[in-house]
């Protein structure tokens, strides 16, 4: 998959920008706060419909402007598409090939993207929430029906939590309705659990190979999907259904007292191990970096496997941070098959060969000029 043309207007600090980019490697260089990340962010939003930096689409609109727009022509194994996202303070409009898409799930996946930024270390180091978001964003790119189920699940949680709060005060009548919400909850949770476990299994296969090779076989990476529902011995959907049904029953009194949903996929987590040692808790900075990088590279392969085409890769400020062996690995892994957009504050720390292959742009106050 490749972005052929990109057009931005009133996006972040960018007034207007037009980029013709049929090549495979693009390097954006400039001092801090000039708009390098903003450009990568626009590509991320183009692919996933939302930003990696903020939940508020409004922040993406240039201060003082009414609306922002990201337009692109993309090409891939399955033909060309025109994508167009318009952001206004009242909401966003996603348009594919001239047709407005009512559901984000029918838009996402047209262009896939993998972003690697310094803060990705938090996938390993951070809270469970960061890891769930990682799963949601990545799985969503290869499975529209996952997005659909997840959207419904989140809406259900809001309703269920409200009902639990209301019931604390006046029980009797609503109990029957809580049973209904539990039935919905069991269905959706089972579907989400199944999709996530399968996804993590596939991702692990790729990540393990990559990790072994980066560490020159000194370490073995394992990833464990940890369900908030007790799932010891559970191997299939029927088993999970029974487990969550039981858990909801067990927790009902407590949930009523606390007025919130205490179990379900919104409380699941991932654990990563290097040679059986929990990297989140005991890993060194270097081990955590390697694990994060392995996950990201695995994602590239998994998207290829699932969709038949490679994603675009967005590398924000990471090339200069990786040590030589990891950098070599990264560049080898993507070489020739993945269109890549890179940002850096300077060209120091980026090897000559990469510079020679890349189109290089200077970024200054939201404008770009190509270097001859």
């Amino acid at each position: 998959m490749q972005v052929e043309e990109l057009e931005l207007s009133q996006f972040r600090n960018i007034d207007r920008l037009a980029l013709n980019c049929p090549e495979s490697l693009h390097l954006f260089v400039g001092p801090n706060a000039q708009g390098k990340t903003n450009i990568l962010e626009s590509l991320y939003v183009l692919a996933l419909g939302k930003s990696h930096r903020t939940r508020k689409d409004k922040e993406l609109i240039r201060w003082g402007a009414d609306a922002a727009q990201i337009k692109a022509r993309v090409s891939g194994e399955f033909g060309n598409h025109r994508l167009d996202i318009r952001l206004t303070p009242r909401g966003k409009k996603v348009v594919k090939n001239g047709l407005e898409q009512r559901r984000l799930s029918s838009y996402i996946g047209t262009l896939t993207a993998v972003l690697f930024a310094p803060e990705d270390l938090t996938i390993v180091k951070g809270s469970p929430q960061v890891r769930r978001r990682f799963i949601d964003m990545e799985l969503g790119q290869v499975s529209p029906s996952y997005i659909h189920d997840l959207t419904r699940y989140n809406q259900l949680l809001l309703q269920r939590n409200q009902l639990l709060k209301d019931m604390g005060n006046r029980r009797e009548r609503i109990n029957a309705f809580l049973d209904v919400l539990d039935e919905q909850m069991i269905d959706l949770s089972t579907s989400l659990w199944k999709k996530r476990v399968t996804f993590i299994k596939q991702l692990t296969q790729w990540a393990q190979d990559i990790h072994t090779s980066i560490t020159q076989a000194k370490e073995t990476l394992t990833i464990d999907y940890q369900s908030a529902v007790p799932t010891q011995g559970v191997t299939d959907e029927a088993g999970y259904r029974m487990a969550i049904e039981k858990e909801l029953l067990r927790l009902r009194e407590q949930e009523l007292r606390r007025g919130t949903t205490l179990t379900g996929p919104h409380r699941d987590d991932l654990r990563l191990f290097a040679n059986d040692v929990d990297i989140h808790t005991f890993g060194s900075q270097g081990q955590q970096r390697t694990a994060a990088l392995s996950l990201k590279l695995a994602e590239i392969e998994l998207i290829h496997q699932e969709t038949g085409t490679y994603p675009i890769l967005l590398l924000d400020d990471v090339l200069s941070e990786l040590d030589d062996s990891r950098k070599t690995h990264l560049l080898e892994a993507i070489r020739g098959k993945v269109q890549t957009f890179v940002t850096a504050t300077g060209l120091e720390g980026i090897d000559q060969e990469t510079c020679d292959r890349a189109r290089i742009y200077r970024v200054q106050q939201g404008s770009i000029t190509e270097q001859g």
Binding site: P144, Q159, L181, Q184
Partner: protein, 198 residues
């Protein structure tokens, strides 16, 4: 800027309508000023009459200007089937198909704790009363396919079980005339799930 009170009241009034922002409200208000007095009177009367003269049908809860709505009063309709919908607009949509000849029941919403709508805020008790009549054989649940609509349908299904009446749920799937290849994956998946034998 100074806007005479009657106009700003009118603007505020328009702005309470859905989908109308300040600019549109202002445009409509000034347009009203330019209209013939007679037409303005007609409009004002229509507004008041729509509110004052419309009531809920004592049988199906649809909005009507009589005690019983046209459908309920129609001797030709099949009284053994009731189609349960969320909104009076759903009845209009169903009637447009000219394919359905049974009766309706309008819930006026879906159960939604977040909006403070419980079973008692909807016309569910009236529905149960209708089921005591033995002529009713089938209930078609045609609530929306979102979480709230589905939950409402499931709730009704449980509630109605003791009556021993056949309960069906309308299928959600492919828009007719839409090409299969343009349907998104979610719609296709749901359509596959809802397939039936021919």
């Amino acid at each position: 800027m100074y806007i005479p009170d009657p106009i700003s009241k009118l603007i505020d009034g328009f702005m309470r309508l859905p989908g109308i922002g300040p600019k549109t409200a202002q445009r409509l208000s000034f347009y009203v000023l330019s209209m013939e007095e007679e037409d303005v009177m007609e409009l004002a009367k229509a507004l008041v009459r729509a509110k004052r003269d419309l009531q809920r049908c004592e049988e199906c809860s649809n909005i009507t200007d009589q005690k019983r709505c046209r459908v309920c009063g129609d001797k030709g309709r099949d009284r053994s089937v009731i189609c349960v919908v969320q909104d009076p607009r759903d009845v209009i949509a169903m009637e447009r198909t000219k394919e359905y000849h049974g009766l309706y029941h309008v819930l006026h919403g879906a159960i939604s704790p977040m909006e403070g709508i419980g079973p008692d805020e909807l016309s569910i008790p009236d529905l149960l009363k209708r089921l005591e009549d033995e002529t009713v054989q089938e209930l078609i649940l045609a609530t929306n396919p979102n979480i709230e609509g589905e939950a409402t349908a499931m709730y009704l299904q449980r509630l109605i079980k003791p009556f021993g009446i056949k309960v069906t749920r309308i299928a959600h799937g492919l828009p007719v005339g839409g090409d299969l290849e343009y349907a998104d994956e979610v719609t296709l998946t749901k359509a596959m799930e809802g397939r039936r034998e021919l």
